[in-house]
Symmetry: D2
Subunit: 108 residues, 4 copies
């Protein structure tokens, strides 16, 4: 559906991997934006407000849509990549070593 | 699968919406990283190198995995959000007005 | 000093505004990276560790160095831009309306 | 000046290192935003438009202002950090090895 959306608008010409990766980064920052000055507790509470929840859902969708477009442009099978990375993470962060540690990704 | 991965490691305690959104941003930047100094042409060529292609696929997967985790934490239905946003974008960027324009998202 | 560093390596050819802006974004994410899974309190404590403090200082420096390079490439006077924006922010966020509000930038 | 601006508004209570780093990331993405769909040539041309140039200058200033705030919050001497990192980069990327190479940071 995303590929068709892009094709109908002839936007593929702008969608080289560099530009689409940059667009993923821009959308990810828009997802961060409403949370940056909030405490942990406030960041959960924000999602109870219907209008704000809807805005956050749109930003999340934008990140995913651009990831799907990156997948189309790069011909990387996104479902396969996700499955493979999760398997890799299971090995990289064994339960017995990483249980309950916030240092996880950076420290192990 | 991602939720189970997180639960087994008891990482949910660190996964408030603010932190997960921040992690999406960090992973998005890792997807951008190999492309930043490349020309449009070089950014496409990089993906022909098997080792680099595989590294880029891992970064793309990381963004999606964190988006899935954000979905789980926020209880936002990610598939529904993506479908709804694409429908919205179709209205916001009608084919006749946005065809072939790189100014698209910012200018219309 | 940054301009000389770039010129000596003939890196100016890669430093169009788009690429340098992207590099600022990559470095900003590296500044975020050590904090993403930490609580507010832990994020302050991390800076008491000498090795980690030094790593964070390097990431902060990278963001600033790329901002200086963006300034050189775009011929935007960075000191003037900073002064002007701070004046604008003073008007945009008057003390009486914005005192003690975390909603500041997004809500006013 | 930035510290005074923050103190007058009693915003220091929201400015833990994690949140300020996140805000640097958000502002860096706003600097990227106007360039993401442009070619290298267009990204330089955009800066010739007075209104857009002024908007870009504001985003650049925002990144620097938040870096200054991060420096204040973390008590990292930003000028010293920048000087030290540039010296480190000179050693890390010797002219004879890095001259004219776009692979620079990632590959050496």
């Amino acid at each position: 559906m995303m590929s068709q959306f892009v094709a109908e608008r002839d936007w593929g010409r702008f969608h080289d991997p560099k530009s689409v990766a940059m667009a993923v980064g821009v959308e990810a920052a828009e997802l961060m934006e409403p949370f940056r000055w909030l405490s942990t507790e406030e960041s959960a509470a924000l999602l109870n407000d219907a209008r704000r929840r809807s805005a956050v859902a749109e930003e999340l969708a934008d990140v995913v849509l651009l990831c799907l477009e990156f997948s189309a442009v790069s011909k990387i099978d996104i479902a396969e990549a996700v499955r493979a990375k999760l398997e890799l993470n299971k090995k990289r962060y064994p339960v017995e070593k990483s249980h309950g540690k916030s240092t996880k990704y950076t420290e192990l």
